[in-house]
Symmetry: C2
Subunit: 159 residues, 2 copies
DNA sequence: ATGATAATGTTATATTATAACGTTTCAATT
DNA sequence: AATTGAAACGTTATAATATAACATTATCAT
């Protein structure tokens, strides 16, 4: 089991640098496979997104970049868009924020548990939920294509 | 069965004024029960939200209000906030837009099917989905409190 | 009528995101 | 190595969504 395949909410005690390193490695590998350029900006944005197991806002990323040189919003949004398209980052619609994908490789939507107290986030890919959605949608004659599932509540540490 | 208790996506063929009228009646009744003021602005915003079975943006509501007199963003956002708190309107996070609640009475989160083609929206309150979420969350030691479930896809008419 | 509370008006500003266009970088081909 | 076409990036401006702060008005309970 790779470090990045940890269970939800299990990486809150530090030693987190390895998450970042792994995310970057996986990203490099995937981009090479798909003949996409993993530029230094894209790498840096991915690192910043992974810097915490919490969603981060685009303008927080921007601030961090600006510590290291000039940067403007499009720089950040372009990198985030790229990383999303590569399935390396998810956007959390209910927070207008971004988080590293816990299961990169194949693009997917995922489901997110977000702690209202400490803001920690865990990504699920629960077939149980997707199936329930699929079946309920079917019953309405609706053909699902993309799902946004964001659950606010209390994480194990805060409940 | 009241008109507002129609099945998902079944009210697309006009005769929709009755939805608005019913939504207003229910709102009046609920506000009276709860000793909240159903002011003319709140009523007008609710009507505008119900004017289509599609999510509407806050600034679209604002434009409509401005046809009828002066209005500024806070007016709209206050009314929308009130209507949300009363469980009469839902905010669709993935669209930054608002839609009338199909099952007003008790506050709830609901689940939304949104057509990517015609933008029609249907609200579900599927225990099947909520249960799947509840169980998956439990397995992570997470205590769910509020859910955002927004499914993009194709409605029966567009698929 | 009086005072307290809630709602609204008004102005300004914060926050999130994209448009438009010129320049640079990079890799493939010659 | 030079050419060149596409992709990425820099830069400026602006769009779109949402809230802060404070003055004014309406409503309700006494
Ligand atoms: Zn993921
Ligand atoms: Zn927590
Ligand atoms: Zn509802
Ligand atoms: Zn449709």
């Amino acid at each position: 089991m790779k470090h990045s395949e940890h269970r939800a909410f299990s990486c809150n005690k530090g030693g987190h640098q390895i998450c970042i390193a792994e995310a970057v490695q996986v990203a490099e590998s995937l981009c090479r496979q798909r003949k996409q350029r993993f530029t230094s900006i894209r790498r840096r944005v991915l690192e910043l997104v992974w810097h915490q197991h919490k969603p981060i806002g685009a303008y927080q990323v921007l601030e961090a970049l600006q510590q290291e040189g000039r940067a403007a919003p499009p720089t950040v949004y372009r990198a985030l868009d790229f990383l999303q398209q590569m399935g390396l980052v998810h956007r959390i619609a209910s927070l207008n924020a971004y988080v590293g994908c816990a299961h990169p490789g194949a693009p997917h939507d995922g489901q997110f548990l977000i702690c209202e107290s400490c803001k920690a986030l865990a990504e699920l890919d629960a077939a149980e939920i997707s199936n329930a959605i699929e079946q309920s949608a079917d019953r309405s004659g609706f053909k699902p294509h993309r799902q946004t599932v964001e659950i606010m509540g209390l994480c194990p540490r805060c409940r």
